[in-house]
Amino acid sequence: MSAAAVITGHAALSCLGDSSAAIWTALRQGKIGLQAEETAEGIHCPVGRVSETGQGGEPEFTELLRRTLENPPPNWRWSDPQTTWILGSAKGNVAALQKGRGDYPLSASAQTVANTLGLVQPPICISTACTSGLAGIIHAERLLRSGKYRRVAVSGCDLASDFVLSGFNRIQAVSTTFCRPYDADRNGINLASAAATVYLEWRTPQAGEISIVGGATSNDGYHISRPSPEGTALQDCIRRSCGDQVPDFICGHGTATVLNDNTESEAIFSSGLAAVPTFSVKGQLGHTLGACGVLETIITQQCMEENTILASVGFARPGTTAAVNISRNIELKPIRNALNIAVGFGGGNAAILLRKA
């Protein structure tokens, strides 16, 4: 196999655990990390927190981020000019406006973290709403492929702050019960805090290693808050990511809003992937906004390493406009390729194809 962007390490914090391994174990056990909470505006809904003590006990944005960057792979050197770091976030440290905790601009937060790491290169910050993390991975793969860098770390981080909870509630996108991705009775999202980092290195993958072998972004060019019903631009992303490969499963975006899940189903169906098992992890760990692309890439990698297709928790009855194969139970089977997709406000789409050597 030729050289590729190999995932050489990862770290994550979410409502399902404070490490990638803990999150994986909880996902396998079918646990739901979301807990009922009363928001600042008096709305009762499930929210995912990285701290058991709720929002007040959650670390500040940069601290949360830093904790996923503490233990890079053994050969990782932040001071190497051929090493860089990409941060994806939808709202960054917006809590700084309210509480005065840390810097508001995302690039300032990133630089604060970069300084503690000793990173020589200036950090790259991407903010394309819920596709931020996946767009970061796609950009990283290209930077590696071009030879500009040898190692790129990609982080995604967002907090379920009062600001974010209030906003999604006002657009009537929040479910007051556990969310049900792709289900006929789905009625909205559950928001959650998370931070995640993947470490990518350009080299020939060893047997069993997972690498990013395809990726694309696109925009619907349709509407800022409604996805294109046909999912044409997302289909274009999937086509450009997969080429002629058929993934063994799809880690879908699956937010559990009516419009998102319909669009996703249309794109998957039109791509000829209707029979491919598809799941969303948002029924267990909520929608982590800009962090979801990186967090779900780690989960996709774990699925591939363990030859496991997860169940889409919350799904009971098909209810998307196009018929797709939503995974109801955990399935064990040999896996070589997997697709991870993300869709966001502003019309953004992103997709990556992962391969096991």
Partner: protein
């Protein structure tokens, strides 16, 4: 060069003033006037935009008005790289203020607090359906911008990339736009006033 710069006083085409704002004219009226004069396209839907979004739509209208080649390129081959520092700070403050007890705001205000909304609005109004990135960087001369444009043109299907520097604070609003064609012969020399971006791209 194919560069547009929009400030609160005027719009500049390749460095020369193209239209000046009448001192008595509201900023939104100035931007709407530019749209009415320069927009060419099949769909005219500019009603749901905040001030920075409207400014970007107006600047894009001016930029594309002089670009016949743009209109012959498929939407899937048009990429966009938007860059900002303050992001949606002004709209964030408006929304933050409405969050207090009894506060109200239109749902659209929250949607516009996402920093990528202006790029999404431009994509919807000007049919930009290809590669799409929004960066938060300290300034328009960041090497990250050059790299992102280069990667979009090199590894995606894009034939052209609309590059924008967008900055809005409570007292200022500025938009700089530039088109970068994958064909090196048409590559603009002074990408957002930065020679480094042009150099970076020509290395392909």
């Amino acid at each position: 060069m194919k560069q547009v710069k929009l400030t609160t006083e005027a719009v500049f085409w390749n460095g020369a003033p193209l239209r000046r704002r009448n001192p008595s004219q509201a900023l939104r009226d100035f931007h709407l006037g530019l749209l009415h004069e320069f927009y060419v396209g099949p769909e005219y839907r500019f009603s749901v935009v905040d001030d920075v979004g409207l400014a970007c739509l107006a600047a894009t209208a001016v930029c594309l008005h002089f670009q016949r080649r743009w209109h012959g390129i498929l939407p899937e081959q048009r990429a966009a790289v938007f860059v900002t520092y303050s992001g949606s700070l002004v709209t964030d403050l408006v929304y933050q203020k409405s969050m207090g007890a009894g506060g109200r705001s239109s749902p659209r205000v929250f949607v516009q607090t996402l920093p990528n909304m202006v790029a999404g609005q431009v994509a919807a109004c000007y049919a930009v359906r290809g590669e799409h990135f929004v960066l938060i960087q300290d300034g328009p001369r960041s090497s990250a911008i050059a790299e992102t444009v280069e990667m979009c043109l090199k590894y995606g299907p894009a034939k052209v990339c609309l590059v924008a520097w967008v900055e809005q604070t409570e007292t200022e609003l500025a938009v700089e736009l530039l088109l970068c064609y994958a064909d090196a012969k048409d590559q603009a020399a002074g990408l957002l006033g930065s020679a480094s971006m042009g150099r970076s791209y020509r290395m392909q």
